[in-house]
Amino acid sequence: MKTYILPSLKLTGILILICSVFYPLLITVFGWMSPGNGGGEKILRKGSVVGYANIGQKFTEAKYFQGRPSNCDYNAAGSGGSNKAPSNVEYLAIVQARIDTFLIDNPTIHKSEIPSDLVTASGSGLDPNISVQSARIQVSRIAMERGKSEKEINQLIDQLIEKPLLGIFGPEKVNVLKLNLALDEL
Protein backbone atom coordinates (compact mmCIF):
# COMPACT_ATOMS: atom_id res chain seq x y z
CA MET A 1 0.00 0.00 0.00
CA LYS A 2 2.62 2.47 1.20
CA THR A 3 4.94 1.62 -1.68
CA TYR A 4 2.38 2.75 -4.25
CA ILE A 5 0.50 5.60 -2.59
CA LEU A 6 3.40 7.67 -1.27
CA PRO A 7 5.27 7.97 -4.59
CA SER A 8 1.99 8.78 -6.35
CA LEU A 9 1.26 11.58 -3.89
CA LYS A 10 4.80 12.93 -4.25
CA LEU A 11 4.57 12.84 -8.03
CA THR A 12 1.20 14.62 -7.93
CA GLY A 13 2.64 17.34 -5.69
CA ILE A 14 5.66 17.87 -7.91
CA LEU A 15 3.55 18.03 -11.07
CA ILE A 16 1.13 20.52 -9.47
CA LEU A 17 4.13 22.68 -8.63
CA ILE A 18 5.58 22.48 -12.15
CA CYS A 19 2.38 22.82 -14.13
CA SER A 20 0.47 25.37 -12.10
CA VAL A 21 3.23 27.47 -10.53
CA PHE A 22 6.46 27.39 -12.54
CA TYR A 23 4.96 27.18 -16.02
CA PRO A 24 2.52 30.12 -15.58
CA LEU A 25 5.34 32.16 -14.01
CA LEU A 26 7.60 31.43 -16.97
CA ILE A 27 4.89 32.50 -19.40
CA THR A 28 4.23 35.67 -17.38
CA VAL A 29 7.92 36.55 -17.56
CA PHE A 30 7.84 36.10 -21.33
CA GLY A 31 4.80 38.38 -21.40
CA TRP A 32 6.62 41.11 -19.47
CA MET A 33 9.53 40.92 -21.86
CA SER A 34 7.35 41.29 -24.97
CA PRO A 35 6.45 44.68 -26.51
CA GLY A 36 3.82 46.49 -24.43
CA ASN A 37 4.77 44.46 -21.33
CA GLY A 38 2.15 41.83 -22.01
CA GLY A 39 -0.73 44.30 -22.28
CA GLY A 40 -0.67 44.47 -26.06
CA GLU A 41 1.31 46.76 -28.32
CA LYS A 42 -0.54 50.10 -28.21
CA ILE A 43 -0.42 52.65 -30.98
CA LEU A 44 -0.56 56.23 -29.73
CA ARG A 45 -1.42 59.42 -31.52
CA LYS A 46 -1.19 62.78 -29.74
CA GLY A 47 -0.94 60.89 -26.44
CA SER A 48 -4.12 58.87 -26.75
CA VAL A 49 -4.47 55.21 -27.69
CA VAL A 50 -5.94 54.81 -31.16
CA GLY A 51 -5.49 51.06 -31.50
CA TYR A 52 -3.38 47.98 -31.05
CA ALA A 53 -0.70 46.97 -33.51
CA ASN A 54 -1.87 43.36 -33.80
CA ILE A 55 -5.64 43.88 -33.83
CA GLY A 56 -7.08 45.03 -37.11
CA GLN A 57 -9.60 47.86 -37.46
CA LYS A 58 -12.17 48.69 -40.06
CA PHE A 59 -11.60 51.57 -42.47
CA THR A 60 -14.48 52.48 -44.74
CA GLU A 61 -13.69 56.00 -45.94
CA ALA A 62 -12.26 56.20 -49.43
CA LYS A 63 -9.36 58.39 -48.29
CA TYR A 64 -7.95 55.62 -46.09
CA PHE A 65 -6.33 52.33 -46.96
CA GLN A 66 -8.81 49.53 -46.45
CA GLY A 67 -7.95 46.31 -44.62
CA ARG A 68 -9.04 42.81 -45.49
CA PRO A 69 -12.70 41.78 -45.38
CA SER A 70 -13.72 40.38 -42.01
CA ASN A 71 -16.23 37.68 -41.29
CA CYS A 72 -16.95 39.15 -37.85
CA ASP A 73 -16.81 42.80 -38.96
CA TYR A 74 -13.64 43.42 -36.90
CA ASN A 75 -15.48 42.70 -33.67
CA ALA A 76 -12.72 41.61 -31.30
CA ALA A 77 -15.24 40.13 -28.86
CA GLY A 78 -16.36 37.53 -31.39
CA SER A 79 -13.44 36.94 -33.69
CA GLY A 80 -13.56 34.14 -36.22
CA GLY A 81 -13.35 33.15 -39.85
CA SER A 82 -16.00 32.18 -42.35
CA ASN A 83 -14.93 28.50 -42.55
CA LYS A 84 -16.19 28.45 -46.11
CA ALA A 85 -14.74 25.92 -48.52
CA PRO A 86 -13.32 26.90 -51.92
CA SER A 87 -15.97 24.68 -53.55
CA ASN A 88 -18.88 26.46 -51.85
CA VAL A 89 -21.06 28.31 -54.39
CA GLU A 90 -22.40 30.81 -51.83
CA TYR A 91 -18.85 31.64 -50.80
CA LEU A 92 -17.74 32.23 -54.38
CA ALA A 93 -20.65 34.63 -54.81
CA ILE A 94 -19.49 36.59 -51.74
CA VAL A 95 -15.96 36.86 -53.16
CA GLN A 96 -17.35 37.94 -56.53
CA ALA A 97 -19.37 40.68 -54.79
CA ARG A 98 -16.23 41.88 -52.98
CA ILE A 99 -14.34 42.03 -56.28
CA ASP A 100 -17.15 44.00 -57.91
CA THR A 101 -17.34 46.48 -55.01
CA PHE A 102 -13.60 46.99 -55.11
CA LEU A 103 -13.66 47.63 -58.86
CA ILE A 104 -16.38 50.26 -58.45
CA ASP A 105 -14.40 52.03 -55.71
CA ASN A 106 -11.15 51.84 -57.66
CA PRO A 107 -12.08 52.42 -61.30
CA THR A 108 -8.46 52.61 -62.50
CA ILE A 109 -7.68 49.05 -61.38
CA HIS A 110 -8.07 46.03 -63.60
CA LYS A 111 -9.55 42.86 -62.11
CA SER A 112 -6.41 40.79 -62.68
CA GLU A 113 -4.44 43.13 -60.41
CA ILE A 114 -6.47 42.49 -57.25
CA PRO A 115 -4.43 40.37 -54.80
CA SER A 116 -6.32 37.47 -53.25
CA ASP A 117 -5.84 38.69 -49.66
CA LEU A 118 -7.91 41.82 -50.33
CA VAL A 119 -11.08 39.93 -51.22
CA THR A 120 -10.88 36.98 -48.80
CA ALA A 121 -11.66 37.12 -45.09
CA SER A 122 -8.91 36.30 -42.60
CA GLY A 123 -9.09 33.42 -40.14
CA SER A 124 -9.34 35.64 -37.09
CA GLY A 125 -11.36 38.40 -38.71
CA LEU A 126 -8.89 40.82 -37.08
CA ASP A 127 -5.98 40.73 -39.51
CA PRO A 128 -4.06 44.00 -38.96
CA ASN A 129 -1.99 43.66 -42.15
CA ILE A 130 -2.41 43.70 -45.89
CA SER A 131 0.10 42.58 -48.47
CA VAL A 132 2.21 45.20 -50.21
CA GLN A 133 0.36 44.68 -53.50
CA SER A 134 -2.96 45.28 -51.72
CA ALA A 135 -1.64 48.63 -50.53
CA ARG A 136 -0.21 49.57 -53.94
CA ILE A 137 -3.43 49.08 -55.85
CA GLN A 138 -5.28 51.44 -53.50
CA VAL A 139 -2.75 54.23 -54.07
CA SER A 140 -4.38 55.85 -57.11
CA ARG A 141 -7.75 56.12 -55.35
CA ILE A 142 -6.22 57.65 -52.22
CA ALA A 143 -4.05 60.03 -54.22
CA MET A 144 -7.16 61.31 -55.98
CA GLU A 145 -9.21 61.66 -52.77
CA ARG A 146 -6.46 63.51 -50.92
CA GLY A 147 -5.01 65.47 -53.78
CA LYS A 148 -1.53 64.10 -53.19
CA SER A 149 0.81 62.61 -55.77
CA GLU A 150 0.98 58.84 -56.11
CA LYS A 151 4.75 59.01 -55.67
CA GLU A 152 4.44 60.45 -52.16
CA ILE A 153 2.05 57.71 -51.06
CA ASN A 154 4.16 54.98 -52.63
CA GLN A 155 7.18 56.29 -50.71
CA LEU A 156 5.14 56.13 -47.52
CA ILE A 157 4.33 52.47 -48.21
CA ASP A 158 8.00 51.74 -48.87
CA GLN A 159 8.88 53.11 -45.43
CA LEU A 160 6.32 50.95 -43.67
CA ILE A 161 6.92 47.58 -45.36
CA GLU A 162 7.48 44.90 -42.73
CA LYS A 163 9.80 42.06 -43.67
CA PRO A 164 8.67 38.45 -43.13
CA LEU A 165 9.69 36.78 -39.86
CA LEU A 166 13.19 35.25 -40.24
CA GLY A 167 12.88 36.01 -43.94
CA ILE A 168 10.72 32.95 -44.66
CA PHE A 169 7.34 33.08 -42.92
CA GLY A 170 4.71 34.90 -44.91
CA PRO A 171 4.85 37.63 -47.57
CA GLU A 172 5.96 41.25 -47.11
CA LYS A 173 3.19 43.19 -45.45
CA VAL A 174 2.00 46.61 -44.27
CA ASN A 175 0.12 47.41 -41.08
CA VAL A 176 -3.09 49.17 -42.14
CA LEU A 177 -3.48 51.28 -38.99
CA LYS A 178 0.13 52.51 -39.00
CA LEU A 179 -0.12 53.26 -42.71
CA ASN A 180 -3.30 55.31 -42.30
CA LEU A 181 -1.88 57.25 -39.35
CA ALA A 182 1.19 58.11 -41.40
CA LEU A 183 -1.10 59.08 -44.26
CA ASP A 184 -2.92 61.63 -42.06
CA GLU A 185 0.39 63.24 -41.13
CA LEU A 186 1.51 63.57 -44.73
Binding site: N83, L92, K111, S122, G123, D127, S131, Q133, G170
Partner: protein, 254 residues
Amino acid sequence: MGIDQSHGSMEGKEVRFGSHASAYWSIVTTVISTGSVNSMHDSSMPVSGTMQLLGMMTNAFYGGCGVGILNYYIFIIIAVFISGLMVGRTPEFLGRKIEAREMKIATIIALLHPFLILVGTAISTYVFTKDPSVGWLNNPGYHGFSEMLYENTSSAANNGSGFEGLGDNNWFWNVSTGFILILGRFLPIIGPVAIAGILAKKKYIPESTGTLRTDTGTFGIMTYAVIMILAALAFFPALVLGPLAEYFTLYHPK
Protein backbone atom coordinates in the same frame (compact mmCIF):
# COMPACT_ATOMS: atom_id res chain seq x y z
CA MET B 1 -11.93 34.21 -60.63
CA GLY B 2 -9.52 36.27 -62.64
CA ILE B 3 -7.77 37.97 -59.73
CA ASP B 4 -4.08 37.97 -58.79
CA GLN B 5 -3.48 34.65 -57.05
CA SER B 6 0.22 35.08 -56.30
CA HIS B 7 -0.54 35.00 -52.56
CA GLY B 8 -2.44 31.72 -52.80
CA SER B 9 -5.78 31.04 -51.20
CA MET B 10 -5.97 33.56 -48.38
CA GLU B 11 -9.45 32.74 -47.04
CA GLY B 12 -9.15 31.93 -43.35
CA LYS B 13 -5.45 32.86 -43.28
CA GLU B 14 -3.55 35.83 -41.87
CA VAL B 15 -1.26 38.00 -44.02
CA ARG B 16 1.56 37.80 -41.46
CA PHE B 17 1.74 34.01 -41.95
CA GLY B 18 0.86 33.84 -45.63
CA SER B 19 -0.59 30.82 -47.34
CA HIS B 20 2.63 28.76 -47.39
CA ALA B 21 3.43 28.93 -43.69
CA SER B 22 -0.27 28.45 -42.83
CA ALA B 23 -0.54 25.30 -44.92
CA TYR B 24 2.73 24.02 -43.48
CA TRP B 25 1.65 24.53 -39.88
CA SER B 26 -1.79 23.06 -40.53
CA ILE B 27 -0.10 19.77 -41.46
CA VAL B 28 2.51 19.90 -38.69
CA THR B 29 -0.19 20.48 -36.10
CA THR B 30 -2.11 17.40 -37.20
CA VAL B 31 1.04 15.28 -37.26
CA ILE B 32 2.26 16.21 -33.78
CA SER B 33 -1.26 16.26 -32.28
CA THR B 34 -1.16 19.71 -30.72
CA GLY B 35 -4.39 20.93 -32.27
CA SER B 36 -3.19 24.54 -32.34
CA VAL B 37 -3.98 26.33 -35.57
CA ASN B 38 -2.90 29.53 -37.28
CA SER B 39 -5.44 29.36 -40.06
CA MET B 40 -8.96 28.04 -40.50
CA HIS B 41 -8.55 24.47 -41.73
CA ASP B 42 -12.08 24.42 -43.08
CA SER B 43 -11.13 27.01 -45.70
CA SER B 44 -7.97 25.20 -46.79
CA MET B 45 -7.76 23.94 -50.33
CA PRO B 46 -8.72 20.25 -50.70
CA VAL B 47 -5.16 18.92 -51.05
CA SER B 48 -4.07 20.62 -47.82
CA GLY B 49 -7.20 19.17 -46.24
CA THR B 50 -6.22 15.67 -47.40
CA MET B 51 -2.79 16.04 -45.86
CA GLN B 52 -4.23 17.33 -42.59
CA LEU B 53 -6.53 14.32 -42.47
CA LEU B 54 -3.74 11.87 -43.34
CA GLY B 55 -1.54 13.29 -40.58
CA MET B 56 -4.17 12.36 -38.02
CA MET B 57 -5.23 9.13 -39.73
CA THR B 58 -1.69 7.74 -39.62
CA ASN B 59 -1.32 8.92 -36.03
CA ALA B 60 1.99 7.08 -35.64
CA PHE B 61 4.58 9.84 -35.79
CA TYR B 62 6.75 9.69 -32.80
CA GLY B 63 7.35 13.02 -31.24
CA GLY B 64 3.64 13.67 -31.45
CA CYS B 65 2.02 13.95 -28.05
CA GLY B 66 -0.75 11.52 -27.17
CA VAL B 67 -0.26 8.06 -28.60
CA GLY B 68 2.23 8.67 -31.44
CA ILE B 69 5.08 6.44 -30.26
CA LEU B 70 2.65 3.79 -28.96
CA ASN B 71 1.01 3.42 -32.35
CA TYR B 72 4.41 3.31 -34.02
CA TYR B 73 5.35 0.47 -31.69
CA ILE B 74 2.18 -1.40 -32.67
CA PHE B 75 3.08 -1.02 -36.34
CA ILE B 76 6.60 -2.32 -35.65
CA ILE B 77 5.16 -5.46 -34.04
CA ILE B 78 2.93 -6.02 -37.04
CA ALA B 79 5.82 -5.38 -39.46
CA VAL B 80 8.06 -7.82 -37.58
CA PHE B 81 5.40 -10.50 -37.76
CA ILE B 82 4.57 -9.98 -41.42
CA SER B 83 8.17 -9.81 -42.61
CA GLY B 84 9.03 -12.79 -40.42
CA LEU B 85 6.36 -14.80 -42.20
CA MET B 86 7.45 -13.50 -45.59
CA VAL B 87 11.09 -14.57 -45.33
CA GLY B 88 10.49 -17.60 -43.12
CA ARG B 89 12.35 -16.39 -40.06
CA THR B 90 11.22 -16.33 -36.45
CA PRO B 91 9.52 -13.03 -35.76
CA GLU B 92 11.52 -11.57 -32.89
CA PHE B 93 11.65 -8.08 -31.50
CA LEU B 94 14.27 -6.98 -28.95
CA GLY B 95 15.19 -10.63 -28.39
CA ARG B 96 11.68 -11.77 -27.64
CA LYS B 97 9.43 -13.91 -29.80
CA ILE B 98 6.29 -12.32 -31.19
CA GLU B 99 3.47 -14.84 -31.06
CA ALA B 100 -0.23 -15.03 -31.73
CA ARG B 101 -1.37 -13.31 -28.54
CA GLU B 102 0.73 -10.19 -29.07
CA MET B 103 -0.31 -10.10 -32.71
CA LYS B 104 -3.98 -10.25 -31.77
CA ILE B 105 -3.62 -7.28 -29.44
CA ALA B 106 -1.54 -5.33 -31.97
CA THR B 107 -4.02 -5.95 -34.78
CA ILE B 108 -6.99 -4.92 -32.65
CA ILE B 109 -5.27 -1.67 -31.69
CA ALA B 110 -4.18 -0.95 -35.27
CA LEU B 111 -7.70 -1.53 -36.57
CA LEU B 112 -9.39 0.35 -33.75
CA HIS B 113 -8.35 3.75 -35.08
CA PRO B 114 -9.90 3.36 -38.57
CA PHE B 115 -12.88 1.58 -37.03
CA LEU B 116 -13.69 4.45 -34.68
CA ILE B 117 -13.26 7.10 -37.36
CA LEU B 118 -15.16 5.37 -40.15
CA VAL B 119 -18.02 4.13 -37.98
CA GLY B 120 -18.32 7.57 -36.39
CA THR B 121 -18.40 9.24 -39.79
CA ALA B 122 -20.87 6.68 -41.12
CA ILE B 123 -23.25 7.26 -38.19
CA SER B 124 -23.06 11.04 -38.47
CA THR B 125 -23.54 10.92 -42.23
CA TYR B 126 -26.54 8.64 -41.77
CA VAL B 127 -28.08 10.94 -39.17
CA PHE B 128 -27.49 13.91 -41.43
CA THR B 129 -28.93 12.38 -44.60
CA LYS B 130 -31.96 11.10 -42.69
CA ASP B 131 -32.75 14.52 -41.31
CA PRO B 132 -30.86 17.37 -43.05
CA SER B 133 -32.65 19.88 -40.82
CA VAL B 134 -30.05 19.24 -38.08
CA GLY B 135 -28.05 21.79 -40.07
CA TRP B 136 -24.50 20.97 -39.01
CA LEU B 137 -22.80 21.64 -42.27
CA ASN B 138 -21.34 24.98 -43.20
CA ASN B 139 -20.49 23.85 -46.72
CA PRO B 140 -22.50 21.72 -49.12
CA GLY B 141 -21.40 18.67 -51.09
CA TYR B 142 -18.15 16.78 -50.69
CA HIS B 143 -16.72 19.35 -48.34
CA GLY B 144 -19.58 18.75 -45.92
CA PHE B 145 -18.60 15.10 -45.76
CA SER B 146 -14.98 16.16 -45.15
CA GLU B 147 -16.15 18.26 -42.21
CA MET B 148 -17.76 15.26 -40.51
CA LEU B 149 -14.82 13.00 -41.38
CA TYR B 150 -12.37 15.53 -39.96
CA GLU B 151 -14.31 15.91 -36.72
CA ASN B 152 -14.29 12.15 -36.10
CA THR B 153 -10.64 11.77 -37.13
CA SER B 154 -9.62 14.65 -34.92
CA SER B 155 -11.31 13.14 -31.88
CA ALA B 156 -9.96 9.62 -32.49
CA ALA B 157 -6.43 10.98 -32.92
CA ASN B 158 -6.78 13.29 -29.90
CA ASN B 159 -6.00 16.30 -32.00
CA GLY B 160 -8.57 18.93 -31.15
CA SER B 161 -8.40 20.96 -34.32
CA GLY B 162 -11.41 20.86 -36.57
CA PHE B 163 -13.10 21.92 -39.74
CA GLU B 164 -14.80 24.43 -37.53
CA GLY B 165 -17.61 25.25 -39.90
CA LEU B 166 -19.26 22.13 -38.51
CA GLY B 167 -21.88 23.05 -35.94
CA ASP B 168 -20.67 20.52 -33.38
CA ASN B 169 -21.88 21.96 -30.09
CA ASN B 170 -24.96 19.79 -29.78
CA TRP B 171 -25.71 16.55 -27.96
CA PHE B 172 -25.04 14.28 -30.93
CA TRP B 173 -21.48 15.47 -31.54
CA ASN B 174 -20.63 15.93 -27.88
CA VAL B 175 -21.69 12.37 -27.02
CA SER B 176 -20.40 10.55 -30.11
CA THR B 177 -17.01 12.26 -30.23
CA GLY B 178 -16.76 11.84 -26.46
CA PHE B 179 -16.98 8.08 -26.85
CA ILE B 180 -14.47 8.12 -29.72
CA LEU B 181 -12.11 10.26 -27.65
CA ILE B 182 -12.13 7.93 -24.64
CA LEU B 183 -11.74 4.76 -26.73
CA GLY B 184 -9.20 6.28 -29.09
CA ARG B 185 -7.09 7.55 -26.24
CA PHE B 186 -7.04 4.76 -23.66
CA LEU B 187 -7.23 1.52 -25.66
CA PRO B 188 -4.06 2.34 -27.64
CA ILE B 189 -2.34 2.89 -24.28
CA ILE B 190 -3.59 -0.33 -22.69
CA GLY B 191 -2.73 -2.49 -25.73
CA PRO B 192 1.01 -1.79 -26.04
CA VAL B 193 1.42 -1.96 -22.24
CA ALA B 194 -0.20 -5.41 -22.32
CA ILE B 195 2.13 -6.50 -25.13
CA ALA B 196 5.12 -5.18 -23.18
CA GLY B 197 3.99 -7.17 -20.14
CA ILE B 198 3.68 -10.38 -22.14
CA LEU B 199 7.04 -9.85 -23.83
CA ALA B 200 8.76 -9.11 -20.53
CA LYS B 201 7.65 -12.48 -19.16
CA LYS B 202 9.23 -14.35 -22.09
CA LYS B 203 12.71 -15.73 -22.07
CA TYR B 204 15.38 -13.68 -23.80
CA ILE B 205 16.65 -15.40 -26.94
CA PRO B 206 20.10 -14.34 -28.14
CA GLU B 207 20.34 -13.29 -31.77
CA SER B 208 21.09 -16.13 -34.17
CA THR B 209 21.23 -16.55 -37.93
CA GLY B 210 17.53 -17.35 -37.88
CA THR B 211 16.64 -13.95 -36.40
CA LEU B 212 15.05 -11.29 -38.52
CA ARG B 213 17.16 -8.18 -38.00
CA THR B 214 15.08 -5.14 -37.09
CA ASP B 215 17.81 -2.49 -37.31
CA THR B 216 18.21 -2.47 -41.08
CA GLY B 217 16.99 -0.11 -43.76
CA THR B 218 14.91 -2.87 -45.31
CA PHE B 219 12.98 -3.29 -42.11
CA GLY B 220 12.45 0.45 -41.95
CA ILE B 221 10.92 0.40 -45.42
CA MET B 222 8.81 -2.58 -44.35
CA THR B 223 7.44 -0.68 -41.34
CA TYR B 224 6.73 2.31 -43.54
CA ALA B 225 4.92 0.09 -46.03
CA VAL B 226 2.79 -1.45 -43.25
CA ILE B 227 1.82 2.00 -41.97
CA MET B 228 1.06 3.28 -45.46
CA ILE B 229 -0.97 0.22 -46.41
CA LEU B 230 -2.97 0.24 -43.19
CA ALA B 231 -3.62 3.97 -43.38
CA ALA B 232 -4.21 4.11 -47.12
CA LEU B 233 -6.30 0.96 -47.40
CA ALA B 234 -8.46 1.88 -44.43
CA PHE B 235 -8.99 5.55 -45.20
CA PHE B 236 -8.58 5.95 -48.92
CA PRO B 237 -12.29 5.36 -49.76
CA ALA B 238 -13.31 8.00 -47.23
CA LEU B 239 -10.74 10.45 -48.59
CA VAL B 240 -12.00 9.83 -52.12
CA LEU B 241 -15.53 10.77 -51.05
CA GLY B 242 -14.35 13.89 -49.25
CA PRO B 243 -11.38 16.09 -50.17
CA LEU B 244 -10.24 14.22 -53.29
CA ALA B 245 -13.69 14.44 -54.87
CA GLU B 246 -13.70 18.13 -54.00
CA TYR B 247 -10.29 18.57 -55.62
CA PHE B 248 -11.40 17.00 -58.88
CA THR B 249 -14.63 18.99 -59.05
CA LEU B 250 -12.68 22.19 -58.43
CA TYR B 251 -10.03 21.68 -61.08
CA HIS B 252 -11.92 19.53 -63.57
CA PRO B 253 -15.48 20.85 -63.59
CA LYS B 254 -18.01 19.11 -65.80
